[in-house]
């Protein structure tokens, strides 16, 4: 909205002046006064006189009237007809579409100025000709924008919902579709006006637009060109007026577009020198650990427009060689942020403000980008959720795997391609030689995920992080991928972190599980223990929510809190049926009840007496 204010005011003022021109008591813009030819500023003529002694200031204002009049008239005509065309074409499709939208595309085959010149040849110059030509020129723009919006609106669920309710077509078009289209059409309208001002002035400049002696900015520039040497200022005034008007209109268009299509711009975090240095100043001693990855007390902070949030707080995880640790949680639990931070792949607005992440005696959170780069894709690798968007569509899958190999091994291209072929074979891609030369869009989802896995294991990583690798896949394909990952882990002995929201998948693939809720680990232990004898009420509720067996699933009341509003005490307390005032009083520690078994709940003793006794 802020971006609209200034250009909006300027455009508003210009329009106001243009409308009020006859009431401003200006000199007659066409009255000639040869005696004062090219006179400088004088009484009643603040900007002087032109080559026929006409008042420049008055001509400037009346010129705005001409320009804007032509521009608005043609944009409105084009807007009304074009929008109607687009609505008809988009809603009824078929022949309607061909006549209203496709036929418009032909206009786009002509360079605009030339189409205008062709018509001027036939009809002669003048404001009427201009309005006709310009409205024809802008028709396809409106038709296309409306058409595209209607098409996308047609497939929207809420439009289909209104259809299912039995609404008549006109009601759907006017109440549901048109409001959807209004924003883009408004943007198109402002674009058309701005562009029409340019074309009108251009044609008038060539002497083929507005007929002299009517005042027009284009004509003024044309006239002033002849006397450029004696009176350069005469040239500058209309140029400035024209440029200012178009600039303000363009800015207004940009602002409108942003308002119609709001994509929150990411705020840039200013990294202070201290921030950059401080974590490095106090390197913690490398721990004595068997773990492939040892994350200790990780806290991640993200700068957002609403202030800093901490989507991950005090998370500690260990993964050992040859085991799979599942990190399970609902959306907003911070599980992906944890993994992405460990890999050093978070955008700069997110920072690990506390904690360490040890991989082979090195703290990942304190490495420089080149040091991290040497590790990424080498000792630690990652498989992502959506294999389509995670592969670059313009390179063959083979080239993308080879790229991963050559990033960490100094080998020739032909050797790398041979290795890639082996990898493809290993991840179960039939006919690897041929498949290497295929583009991602020519593969199925399951195959693409196999390519991603091939890429990840290319350099024999010690740690493989899988971020919901099967969520986008069908069940039968998911089973194939889980099988493959299990086999790879057994064979290579790598440690694996498997992030998922599905408890079923956890029990399929993991040895140990960490349950996350609202940025914290709430329970950790072996899968058999955690699922067989859950200690935390959240884990328990989550298990009861899974629809399996004959019992109807039981939902957890309420919703996961937003990072802006994490509760002070136990973050699950507001939804917990066992909560007491003590739960909400202060942050709870993660209690280690025995090696490898942790829970963040002050009442677990009471709630699970058998475990407490053990």
């Amino acid at each position: 909205m802020k971006k609209l204010w200034l250009p909006g005011t300027i455009v508003g003022l210009i329009i106001l002046v243009a409308i009020l021109a006859p009431l401003l008591g200006l000199m007659d813009p066409v009255r000639q006064d040869i005696a004062n030819r090219l006179a400088g500023p004088m009484n009643g003529s603040p900007l002087g006189r032109d080559e026929f002694g006409r008042d420049v200031f008055s001509r400037l204002i009346w010129g705005a009237r001409t320009s804007l009049g032509v521009a608005f008239a043609s944009a409105l005509i084009a807007g009304v007809i074009g929008t109607a065309f687009g609505l008809i074409g988009g809603w009824f499709r078929g022949w309607g579409e061909i006549f209203t939208v496709r036929s418009m595309d032909i206009i786009l085959c002509f360079p605009p100025v030339l189409l205008a010149l062709l018509v001027v040849t036939l009809m002669g110059p003048g404001a009427g000709t201009l309005i006709l030509v310009l409205s024809v020129l802008y028709l396809p723009g409106f038709a296309r924008v409306t058409y595209a919006e209607v098409l996308s609106a047609r497939s929207l669920d809420y439009v289909e919902a209104v259809r299912a309710l039995g609404a008549p077509t006109w009601r759907i078009l006017f109440r549901t579709v048109l409001p959807n289209v209004a924003g883009p059409v408004l943007v198109q309208l402002s674009l058309a006006v701005a562009s029409a001002v340019v074309l009108e002035s251009g044609l008038s400049f060539l002497g083929l637009g507005v007929v002299p002696p009517s005042p027009s900015w284009g004509l003024m520039i044309r006239g002033a060109r002849a006397t450029m040497e004696q009176a350069p200022m005469l040239l500058l005034w209309p140029c400035a007026a024209l440029t200012l008007t178009i600039l303000a209109m363009n800015l207004l268009c940009d602002g409108l577009r942003d308002a119609v299509d709001p994509r929150t711009p990411a705020t840039r975090r200013r990294i202070r020198v201290v921030d950059r240095l401080l974590p490095g100043l106090l390197p913690a001693a490398a721990p004595q650990t068997e773990a492939v990855l040892d994350v200790r007390n990780l806290t991640v902070e993200i700068a957002t427009p609403r202030g800093a949030i901490r989507p991950v707080q005090g998370v500690s995880l260990q993964v050992f060689a040859g085991e799979t640790l599942a990190v399970v949680g609902e959306s907003g639990s911070g599980k992906s942020v944890t993994a992405t931070t460990v890999m050093g792949l978070m955008p700069p607005i997110a920072q690990a403000v506390e904690g360490q992440a040890w991989l082979g005696g090195r703290d990942l959170l304190r490495l420089t980008e080149p040091e991290l780069r040497a590790l990424r894709g080498g000792p630690m690798a990652m498989v992502f959720q959506d294999p389509m968007s995670s592969l670059n569509p313009v390179h063959t899958v083979g080239a993308q795997v080879v790229e991963a190999i050559q990033a960490h091994q100094k080998i020739s291209s032909s050797d790398a391609w041979k290795q890639a072929e082996q990898l493809f074979k290993r991840v179960g891609i039939a006919d690897p030689q041929k498949r290497l030369r295929v583009y991602p869009h020519e593969m199925s989802g399951g195959m693409r995920q196999r390519v991603m896995i091939a890429m990840a294991i290319a350099n024999r990583p010690k740690l493989l992080i899988c971020d919901e690798p099967t969520t986008a896949l069908d069940v039968t394909v998911q089973a194939q991928i889980l099988d493959l990952l299990n086999a790879l882990k057994r064979e290579t002995g790598m440690g694996m972190i498997f992030i998922t929201h599905s408890l079923g998948v956890v029990s399929e693939i993991a040895d140990r599980v960490a349950v996350m809720y609202a940025g914290q680990v709430v329970e950790q232990g072996s899968v058999a223990e955690v699922f067989g004898n859950p200690l935390h009420p959240y884990t328990r509720a989550l298990l009861e929510a899974v629809p399996e067996g004959d019992e109807p699933p039981v939902g957890i009341p309420g919703i996961v809190p937003q990072p802006h509003a994490f509760p002070v005490g136990c973050r699950f307390a507001p939804r917990c049926r066992f909560a007491t005032p003590a739960c909400e009083a202060a942050p709870l520690p993660l209690e280690e009840i025995r090696a490898g078994r942790e829970v963040r709940c002050i009442r677990w003793h009471e709630l699970t007496p058998t475990e407490a006794a053990a």
């Binding site: 100025v113 036939l122 083929l208 450029m228 894709g377 670059n392 890429m455």
Partner: protein, 316 residues
């Protein structure tokens, strides 16, 4: 391969439709076209002249015959002769077209060379000093009409500083240095709008590419930042830039008419404007058809480049 043939077929079909529409405009104007072409300021033209013009334009024949002859002429490259001096339209175009093409080519190269690196740099350092200055400049350049830029360039460099010639043309073979000097200002004027558009698009699509999952994958592989930038960011960002370049060519071709006029560059615009003023219909049609054909050809080339850059198009 089929894709290519189909795309060429579409271009030919469009060319035919364009020709038909140009043919039709003469007949869609209400009233007798010949009378309209000869009338000036509401004065009824001499009936003898009208009859002669009708004869010249072949308006006496049935519409379909006229249309057939028009198309037949086009396939043989016969665009008729000027109403003013009987000079063959095709010869005039053959003389002028290379000069216009040179201008377009120079302007486009200039715009692309400046705008793509600048747009990439601005996107990589979003919100930085360079980004702000470049984005501001682009917004300004976009707002200044091409003939204003041209006129101001002439005013500043030719009139006031007197370091550049105000305009004109010398064949390259005759004096290469002078030719290039004369080319400089018109090329800059043509390039300015395109550069602004390409800069904005490059900046936006590089920003978009940077946020893509595949760029994250590339980083996760541990390849060097330069390689991520070149192979995964810029490579993918180029396709939308190409689309915009193609779309903007129409404006560019129109702009050429104005720039040639401002700088007295003897390309297609001189005979075109003269013909429009003189209502020299065959000449206008010939030039409009040539430039529209050029526009279609440019878009065809853009689409082919697009397909070369994006494998999804080829198999779709």
């Amino acid at each position: 391969m089929w894709w290519l043939l189909r795309r060429i077929g579409v271009s030919l079909a469009l060319a035919w439709i364009v020709a038909t529409i140009v043919f039709m405009t003469l007949h869609m104007v209400p009233g007798d076209p010949a009378e309209i072409l000869l009338s000036t300021g509401g004065v009824a033209p001499d009936p003898a002249a009208v009859a002669e013009l009708r004869e010249r334009l072949g308006l006496e024949q049935p519409l379909l015959t006229q249309y057939g002859q028009f198309l037949l002429g086009l396939t043989r490259g016969d665009l008729g002769t000027s109403l003013v001096d009987e000079y063959p339209v095709l010869d005039e175009i053959a003389l002028r077209l290379p000069r216009t093409l040179e201008l377009i080519f120079a302007g486009t190269i200039l715009a692309v060379i400046v705008a793509i690196p600048a747009g990439t740099w601005a996107a990589l350092h979003r919100g930085g000093v360079f980004d702000r200055i470049a984005s501001g400049t682009a917004a300004f350049l976009l707002a200044v009409p091409v003939f204003v830029v041209g006129t101001v360039l002439v005013l500043v460099f030719a009139q006031m500083l007197r370091i550049m010639p105000a305009g004109g043309y010398v064949p390259f073979a005759q004096n290469p240095g002078q030719h290039m000097t004369l080319l400089a200002m018109p090329a800059v004027a043509i390039a300015k709008g395109l550069a602004a558009v390409v800069f904005r698009m490059t900046r936006a699509s590089v920003l978009d590419a940077l946020s893509r999952d595949y760029v994250r994958t590339a980083r996760a592989k541990g390849i060097s930042p330069t390689r991520v930038l070149v192979r995964h960011v810029v490579r993918n960002a180029l396709t939308p830039v190409l689309t915009v370049l193609g779309l903007h060519m129409g404006t560019l071709l129109g702009g050429t008419v104005l720039v040639e006029y401002v700088f007295n560059w003897p390309g297609m615009s001189t005979p075109l404007l003269r013909a429009v003023e003189a209502r020299d219909y065959p000449m206008v049609v010939g030039i409009v058809l040539t430039i529209s054909g050029l526009f279609l050809l440019i878009n065809l080339i853009m689409d082919l480049l697009y397909a070369a850059l994006d494998p999804r198009i080829r198999t779709a």
